[in-house]
C-alpha cells in the first residue's frame, strides 16, 4: 500500500507517495533525481549509498523510506554552499583522493559524520569508522590522507 512520506532533503521539504518498503536510496535517486548517492551493493556492505539522517550516517540502500519519514536527510548535493565546497570535499580534492570517484560521495559523507562527533580522530578511529566504505580502485591511502587533512585543518566540522 503506497504511503505519503515527507522528507527534509538538504533543507527542502519533499513529499513522495510510494511503497514504504522502498529503499531511501531509490527514492532519492529516482523520485528526487539526487543521483549523487550511489548504489554499490544493495546489502549495506559498501557504503556507496551513505547519507546522513538527522546528522548520523546511514546506509540508504537498506533503509526503507518509511523509516526516514519526517527526518532530515543530507546528501552530497547538499554539502557545498554555492561555489564554496564543504571542507571535507575540499580535502578530498586537495589530496587527489579520487580515482573513479564512484565511492567518493559516500566516503565524504561518512568522513564528515566522523569528524562532526570526533574532530581529532586517531588513525585507528578513522580506519575503524571508514571500514564500511569500499573503494574498488583501492585508493584508501589517499582517502585516509584526505580525512587526516580535513581533521587537521578544521576545528569544527559542520553538517549542512
Amino acid at each position: 500500500m503506497d504511503t505519503k512520506i515527507t522528507l527534509i532533503v538538504n533543507g527542502n521539504k519533499r513529499t513522495v507517495v510510494t511503497d514504504p518498503a522502498r529503499s531511501l536510496l531509490d527514492v532519492l535517486r529516482e523520485e528526487f533525481h539526487l543521483t549523487g548517492t550511489k548504489y554499490g551493493c544493495g546489502e549495506g556492505q559498501c557504503g556507496a549509498c551513505t547519507v546522513l539522517m538527522d546528522g548520523k550516517k546511514i546506509l540508504s540502500c537498506i533503509t526503507p523510506v518509511a523509516r526516514a519519514d519526517k527526518k532530515k536527510i543530507t546528501t552530497i548535493e547538499g554539502f557545498a554552499e554555492g561555489d564554496s565546497l564543504h571542507p571535507v570535499q575540499q580535502a578530498f580534492l586537495d589530496e587527489g583522493a579520487i580515482q573513479c570517484g564512484y565511492c567518493t560521495s559516500g566516503m565524504i559523507l561518512a568522513a564528515a559524520a566522523l569528524l562532526k562527533n570526533n574532530p581529532k580522530p586517531t588513525d585507528k578511529q578513522i580506519t575503524e569508522w571508514m571500514n564500511g566504505n569500499i573503494c574498488r580502485c583501492n585508493g584508501y591511502t589517499k582517502i585516509l590522507n584526505a580525512v587526516r587533512r580535513a581533521a587537521a585543518q578544521i576545528a569544527e566540522v559542520k553538517i549542512p
Binding site: T35, G36, K38, Q99, Y102, G139, T141
Partner: protein
Amino acid sequence: MIKNTYTKELLEPHCTDSVDAPDSGIQLTRRAFVQMLGSGLLITVTQGVSFGQRGLSGGRLSVAARLHLNQDGTITVMTGKVEEGQGPRAELSQAAAEELRVSVDRIRLIMADTALVPDDGITAGSRTTPINVPAVRRGAATARELLTKLAAEQWKVDAGALDVRNGIITHKTTRKTITYADLAKSKDVAEVFKQTIPSDVVVTPVSQWKSLGTSVPRPNSRDIVTAKHRYPSDFIRPNMLYGKILRPVSYGATLESIDLSKAEAMKDVIVVRDGQFVGCAAPSSFLAAQALEAIAKTASWKTISHPSSKEIFSHLKKNARTDGRSRPRTSGSVEKALADANKVLSETYEVAYVQHTPMEPRAATAEWKDGKLTVWTGVDGPQRVQGDLARTFGLSTERVRVIVPDMGGGFGGKHTGEAAEEAARLAKVIKRPVAVHWTRAEEFTWAYFRPAAVIECKGGLDDKGSLIAWDFTNINAGGAAIDTPYNIANKKILSAGSDSPLRQGAYRCLAATANNFARESFMDELAAAAGADPLAFRLDHLENQRIRTVLEAAAKHFDWPNRRKKVTSELGVGLACGTEKNSVVAACVEVAIDRKRGEIKVNQVCEAFECGPIINPANLLSQVQGCITMGLGPALREEMQFKDGKILNAGFSEYKVPRFKDVPEIEVLLINKTDIPSAGGGETPIIAIAPAIANAVFAATGIRVRSMPMQNALFRQL
C-alpha cells in the same frame, strides 16, 4: 546464457583489442556538430567530414577529427578513450596542452561519444599511455605547426621566426602577435585542419616537458566531489522506465516456460518477452523488481551440469589443451637439462577465479528516436559496443550512438555491453527510454571473471646452484608475462587453453598475476633448494637492467638483508619482481601470521615501479597504491565459489574485497626513466604482490602456499 564466443576475444586483449575497428563514419552536419559542442565554437570541419575516424593509425586521421580551436581560446580535443578512474582524462589533456603550448585548463576533452570522437580503440591493456598519448600529441603538434604556418603566411615571414607560448604566436623580431582565439575566427583554419596527421611529426622531448610530467589533477574532480558528474547509472531521461531482466536459474539453463500474467496485471508494469529474453519495465526499479520476482517464480528451466569450484582445478587440468594444440616456446633442451640437473623441483600452483567488482555495476540508459538508438553506458570500448548494438538491431553503425560518461571503475571487467543491449531491447519494444542497472549479485554472476589457473613448474639446478632448466605451463589463464625474465639456457614455456566453466576475460594485468605468482614463488623454492638468498638468487640470474634497478631499489629501501635476519615464525618477509606491458616492478613485503585468528596480515609493502618517463606522478602513485591494495584481495581471500551453475558468494558480505583495515603501510618508489617511451602504469604494479606475500609466508612458517587465495590455504596446512 554464457557467451563462450567472447572467451577468446576477452582473453587476448593484447591481440584483438588492438585490431582497428571499422570506420564508424558518422556523418554530422555542420549545424548538428555546433549544437553538440555548444556555442562559441568555430567548426573547423566542413559538412560531410567523417568524425568517427580511426584514431589508432595517426596517418589517416585529420587534425579536425582530433581537435577544434574555439573562439574563447580553449581547444576541444576528442578521444575514444574512456575514463574509469585510471587517469586518461588528465594525461590526454596534458598531451594536447604540451604540444599546443597552452596550459592544461585550456583543453576541453570530449571522451567516448561515438558521434563526436575518433575510434582510439578499447580502453584496455595499458595502451592509453603508449598509443593514445602519442597520437594526441602528434595531432596537437600538427595543429600547432599548421597554425604557426598560417600566421607566417599572413605576416609574410618565415615560420621559423615565430614562437608559440600560451596559445599566442609571436614574431620574434617584430613582437607582432596573434592568438589561437584570433585564428579560430579564420576560415583558413577549417581548410588546413582537413589535413591528415603525419606519423612523423616532431613532438616535445621529455627534457622540455611543461605539462607532461606534472601532477595535473583529474580535470573534472570538482564535479566528482560535488556529484555534479553523472555516471552511466545516473542518466534519467524524460518519460523513462527502469528495466529488470530475468536471469537463468543457473549457468547454461534454458527457459522452458513462464507465466507472465502476474506482472502483466500489475499497474504501470510492461513485460517484454522475446524467446529467452524476458524483462519487466516500470516507473521505478522497485516496482520492476517486484514484477520480475512475481514471474520468475513461475519460470521452469532446463538446466545443465556444471563443475563446482571445489573441483575446478582438476577440471581445468583434465581439459587442458596440452596435446600439441598449443605450441610451447622453447630454447635449448629442457628435457636434457632436467636429466642432467643436480636437483629438480616440480610443483603445481593454482589460482582461483576472481571478479573485478567495480563500484558501479553495469548500467545503461537507452533511447530510440526516429529509428536511431542512443545509449549512455559504462563500457571500455564505445565503438565496439556501437558495432555490437548495430548488429543486434540490424542497424548501420551511424544509427547507433554510444556515450560513455566517466564511469565507476572497470579494471578490465567492462569490455562488454550487456546492459546496453538489454536496455535497448526493452526501450525498442516499449517505445520509451529505459534504464537497466545491474544489481551487485547480477554483476557477480553475469559479468565475467579473471580466469582460474593451474600452473605446472619444473626447474633444474646444477651443482653450483644455478638454474639450468625451466619448464612452465599455464593451463587456462593465458600467456601474459608467461616468459621468464631470468637467464636460463633451457626453457619450455606453454600457455594452454582449457574448458572454463565460467565466462572469463580481461582483468587488471590478466594472467600476468597468475604467471608471476607461480614463477616468483617457484624462484623462491629454487633459491631455498640452492641454499641461496632469494634476492641474490634472482640477481644472479637476471640480466634485464630495468628489473634489476627496481628490485635493488625496493630491497635497499626495505633494508632486505637486515629484515630477513629478523624473520620469526610470526613475522616473515618476502620479495618478488616482474615485467609486463613494458614496465617493471619489484615488491618487498612483511607479513604477520596470526594463528589464533587464522589471518595473514600484510604489515608493509615497499614497491618500486618504472614505466619510462612519468607523465603524471600523482596519478601514477594512485595507480601503484591501488594495484598494491587491490592485489591483496585475490592474494589472500577473494575467490568465486560456485556449484551447480550458481555463484555461492555473489555479494560483498561473502566475497571479501580489501577494506581500510586491510591497507598495509605502503611505500612506493617511482623511478623516472626518461630515455625510453612512456608505458602505462595502471596494471603491472599488481603482479608482484601475491608472490611476495607467498614468499614472506614461507619465510615465517616454512609452509609453501601454492594456491591463491592463500589465507585459507595456509591455515588448512598449519
